[in-house]
Each structure stands twice: as C-alpha cells, then as structure tokens.
C-alpha cells in the first residue's frame, strides 16, 4: 500500500533512488501518526508532504533528518541505512525547521558565517551573494531582532543558496514570506532539482513546479493501524 501513495509521474526517470523509506511507523501520545509508510526519492524530485494540522508532517520531517528517533522502520540513503552513516548523511542534508535557527542578537551575516563554519565546506565570500539572493542586501549589519519575521525566515533560507547538499528537508519554508519571495524560492527549488538534488517539503501553499512535484498525504495514514 505504501508506494502507491507517491504519484507515479517520476518513477521511471531515475533508476537508483537517493532516499528510500520503508515501513515507517510512528506513534505519538498513543496516537498512530503513520504506519507502513514508504516512499522513495530520486534525484530531481520534489516531494510535498501534505496533511492536516497535527497529521505528523513535522514529525515525519524530523524523523527523516535524524532529529527524532521515536520511530520504527528503515530510512536508507544511497543504499545504506541512515543510522549507520550519520555524519555522511548530515553532510548531504540541509534541514530548515519550524524555528529558523537564527540568533536574534547576531546580524544576518554573522548568522550565516556560523552556519558556514558548521558546514565546513562553504566559502566565506558567497555569504553576501546569498543574502542578496534572498533580498537582504543592505541588512547585513542589522541584528536579526530588528528584522521582521519574514526577513528572519529569509536569513534561514539563505542557507539554501550556500548549500551544496543534495537533500533539502524544508518544514514550512514559505511561512511569512511574501508572494514574490515564494516565487523566487520555487525557482530555487526547481534549479536544485535540475542539478540533481531532491527536496522534501511541507507547505500549505499551492506549488507551481508541477513537473518535479510528487505528493504524499499523511491524512490517509491516520488510523490505519
């Protein structure tokens, strides 16, 4: 029952999937969020996780990126279980969570420089380019608590421009972002897919990038135990 959940339009494109999820089971407060959940994700694919509030979207993303270990089942990255190759998996992963991970007392540039250091692979000079791309040119030296919620979100999103990781896991990346920003962000996702990356995201927005998009709906999973 698992694999039919992902729409079939991408299935024949790439042979070896990057990410494979099998028989995922998660229970929270004695409520089954999903059971026997399975899907694959190949290069060039954008997977939108849908579901009502409380259906377990964020939980699923936290499990997928390795933050939460309250699950049963198998998550396989490049043919090897994630639990056995945590460092390598995290090197190839960018996760943007509910909280943008932006320090309020630091400036946008200082925040990004920290993430560059954490990543270890990023060249310092691209930081100003990334800030320009997310429309924060001229705000480099403003502490983030002086910026709006949307601008703070953009500081987080700027990390995507710096990243060379193939897998992006984005939890509601468009919250508080204006229309123009969402369009630019979608263009970025498409470009990422075209260079061979893949994306898993949750959003309540209607996405325009139908060529790359597949869906998984968690509502159908509720109560299937």
């Amino acid at each position: 029952m698992s694999d039919q959940l992902v729409s079939e339009n991408m299935s024949e494109q790439v042979s070896e999937p990057l990410l494979r999820v099998e028989n995922l089971f998660c229970e929270r407060d004695e409520r089954v969020l999903f059971d026997e959940l399975g899907f694959t994700l190949s290069a060039g694919q954008i997977l939108q996780v849908e579901g009502q509030n409380g259906s377990g979207k964020t939980t699923l993303l936290r499990i997928l990126c390795g933050l939460s270990r309250h699950y049963e089942g198998e998550i396989v990255w490049r043919g090897e279980p994630v639990s056995q190759q945590r460092e390598r998996y995290h090197r190839e992963l960018v996760y943007l969570g509910h909280q943008p991970g932006v320090k309020a007392v630091l400036t946008a540039e200082e925040n990004l420089r920290w993430y560059a250091a954490l990543d270890g692979s990023i060249d310092d000079s691209v930081i100003s380019y990334a800030l320009m791309q997310v429309g924060l040119e001229g705000f480099e030296d403003v502490p983030c608590h002086m910026l709006s919620a949307g601008q703070n979100r953009r500081v987080g999103l700027a990390r995507l421009y710096l990243s060379q990781a193939p897998l992006w896991i984005l939890d509601e990346p468009f919250t508080a972002i204006d229309k123009k920003g969402v369009a630019a962000q979608e263009a970025l996702l498409v470009e990422h897919a075209e260079r061979g990356g893949c994306v898993i995201l949750t959003t309540h927005q209607e996405l325009q990038l139908t060529d790359y998009l597949s869906h998984i709906n968690l509502d159908r999973q509720v109560g299937t135990s």
Partner: protein, 246 residues
C-alpha cells in the same frame, strides 16, 4: 527575494559523496568565537554570576561576624561555595536559547563532530564565568581576611576547578534543556557531582593557608579536569540528542 525577472545565479555543483570535510579545530574556534560574540551582545547575562559571587561574599561578614579570626576560618569555603553556586546559576542558559530558536537542531544536524561544538560552548562558558570568578577571587579573599599565603592556592584551585564545574554543569543543562522549567532539576542533578571538586578545592586553599603542600590537592583537581575534558563532552552530546529528539 529577487525580482521575478532577475535570473538566479547558477547554484554551485552538488558536493561529491566522498568529500571529507573534517576540521575539528576550526569548528572549535568558530564555536568559541560565536559564543563570545553572543555573550558580548547580552552583557547583562555576563555580569549576573559575578554580581552573585560578590554579593554572597559581602553578606557573610554581615550575617555571621565581622571578626577577622572567624572570617579567616570561613574564607576558603565561602569563596569556593560562592563560585560554585555562581557557576550553577549561569548553567541553565547554556543551551536554552539555542534550543528555543532552533540553532541546536542545526548544530545536531551538522556534519561536524558534536564533541567539538559542545566543547567550544563549554570553553566559552568558562571564559565568561569561571575565568572572571577566578580573577575576582583574591578580592573576595581580602574582604574575608584570607591570609596572603592562601591567595595562590585559591587562584590555582579555582583555575583548575571552575572548568570542571562548567563541564559537569553542562551535562545537567543538556539533559534539562527540553524541559520548560529545568532550573531546579539541574541543581539536583549536578550538585552531587560538584561535591568532589568543592572538597579538593577548599582543601587546596586550606593547605596553602597553613603552609602544607598543595600539589596533591591540585593534582587531584587536575585529574578531575582531565577526566571531565575527555568524557563530559561525550555525555553532553548524548544528552543533547536525547533532549532534542523528545
């Protein structure tokens, strides 16, 4: 973001799978630099433990007796207990703000060894609390009529002891960061582990006051510190993973 019309510059190539980026030293330095910058921007947090330290030492003569002979006797213990409690007071905030704004998740998901990031945070914490406490200690010693011969022992014992206090306290902070009200629990978890440090710390000061050899006590403090340096970051890292996954 960009205007719709403006084309996004080409993104970089995806990194190869085999590329190893392992630079623990630079991560350690970057973490320390970031923590110091953060502390410098929130200066009130920085002086809190120091004021506490000073206050405790000022209140003791008022509460017990201003008699020099009494205070001389009490001084080593009072300074050490005050330093210990001041460190404990500052411990709760170590991971709190990172947890609240999502930075902690990002730290856990980074490919860098968590050991180094955690060690960097603790070292920065010590630079901002333990080190100033150590430097202030002679002042408190004078206020409490600690004999001049005891000053060296006091400074050295605090210099070796306070990093251990930071390392142990960080384990408690990491375990309780997921809880809304972790403050009390931290004290319960950590205080029993602080006791050996306190015993050897005050013993070192008393030994130096009475002219006995201090090296034995200092060696034990050093051993505790070495143990803490090598093992505590592992415990802190594991505790953080548990706290965040909950």
């Amino acid at each position: 973001m960009n205007d719709m019309g403006t084309k996004i510059r080409k993104l970089g190539q995806l990194s190869g799978t085999s590329e190893e980026v392992f630079r623990p030293g630079s991560v350690l330095l970057a973490t320390i630099r970031r923590e110091l910058l953060l502390a410098f921007r929130r200066r009130s947090d920085l002086v809190n433990p120091l004021i506490f330290f000073l206050m405790v030492a000022t209140l003791f003569p008022l509460g017990i007796s201003p008699e020099p002979s009494v205070l001389t006797l009490l001084a080593p213990g009072v300074v050490w207990v005050a330093a210990l409690l001041a460190t404990l007071l500052s411990m709760d905030s170590l991971f709190r703000s990172d947890f609240d704004d999502g930075s902690l998740e990002q730290i856990l998901l980074s490919p860098q060894p968590l050991f180094m990031v955690v060690l960097g945070k603790v070292v920065a914490h010590w630079i901002m609390t333990g080190l100033p406490l150590t430097l202030m200690a002679p002042l408190l010693g004078i206020m409490l009529f600690l004999p001049a011969e005891g000053m060296g022992g006091l400074m050295l014992s605090l210099l070796l002891g306070t990093p251990t206090l930071s390392l142990i306290g960080a384990i408690g902070a990491a375990l309780t960061v997921g809880l809304r009200k972790g403050g009390v629990l931290i004290s319960l978890l950590v205080l029993p582990l602080y006791i050996p440090v306190l015993i050897f710390g005050t013993a070192a000061v008393e030994a130096s006051v009475t002219g006995l050899p201090v090296t034995g006590h200092l060696a034990l403090l050093g051993a505790l510190l070495a143990l803490g340096f090598s093992l505590a970051p592992l415990a802190i890292a594991a505790a953080l993973r548990i706290s965040v996954s909950g």
